[in-house]
Symmetry: C2
């Protein structure tokens, strides 16, 4: 499936370079391919098994840069021909989340593909309340501030979940 904006390269020229990849017109098939290739690699390296179901769920999660719910994935799996039940998709998601290939957005009860599965990290996300697209980011200064604050309050950190809701530039421009 070719993204139509690719036929309009002029549109790209008006975007400033800070616009996150997920919000730019792009060849999304390449996104999916890259994500699957990275998944194959990390799984091979860590001795994890990217079975057909898991691979398919990952592919489905990557169909867009929007978070997708477990039951949406379930429907998509059923459309494939498998008559999948909830535990099937939740197990695949558990695997993918633990393998660092997918993130769960707690505020939305939904899942997005991880941008950078090759480097372990924790979740920081911007979510557009209008178009629902999600941008994952990693801020050293946010991490340092959070670590310092936690240490001051006597906490050892094990996980972080930072979800910011707002409006992306596209949606703001569109009023």
């Amino acid at each position: 499936m070719m993204v139509s904006s690719l036929t309009l390269p002029d549109a790209l020229m008006t975007l400033d370079s800070n616009t996150p990849a997920a919000l730019r017109p792009h060849d999304h098939d390449a996104c999916i391919d890259a994500a699957l290739a990275a998944a194959e690699q990390t799984c091979k390296e860590q001795g994890l098994r990217l079975t057909p179901i898991r691979r398919r769920v990952l592919e489905l999660v990557w169909q867009s840069h929007r978070p997708v719910g477990a039951y949406e994935l379930l429907e998509a799996l059923s459309a494939d021909g498998r008559r999948a039940m909830p535990p099937t998709v939740y197990r695949a998601l558990d695997f993918l989340v633990n393998a660092g290939l997918v993130h769960r957005l707690a505020t939305l009860n939904a899942f997005v593909g991880c941008h950078d599965p090759l480097h372990p990290h924790q979740g920081q996300f911007l979510i557009c309340g209008d178009c629902r697209r999600v941008v994952e980011f990693h801020s050293g200064s946010v991490n340092r501030s959070l670590d310092r604050k936690a240490r001051n309050l006597g906490f050892e950190l094990t996980e972080q979940n930072v979800e910011l809701l707002g409006r992306c530039s596209d949606c703001r421009d569109a009023h």
Copy 2:
């Protein structure tokens, strides 16, 4: 209900001053009273109605510094004698959250009392994975880092949800 640690003031001497109030032995009745008083005040100031159900739910949320689930609150309300149904407690919680008196922790599907309802703010929380106690904090440097990052990525922020999972000093000391 008197907190037994109050009879052991020596214990207080060993705690460093950075220990959050929620983790220190303290007269928790005073906590509840203060929370309810602050709630009365904000509601009066903003023309909101702190009805008996809402007040009772707030009181129940404040029974501890641990997050409490909606259905736990429901049971507690039923124990009071009212035979409450889910919408009752969810409506009360919606009201309290919107009034800034209670925060919802998305990662736990649970609710905690807000420390500082008199000053509007957004949620930043440390959650101890062992004892489940929650410490709310509010870091200017975290906020600045998040704002800057969001702006760089073209986002206008409307809400933030920062939940850090870890282990508090008490639980670490207890191995």
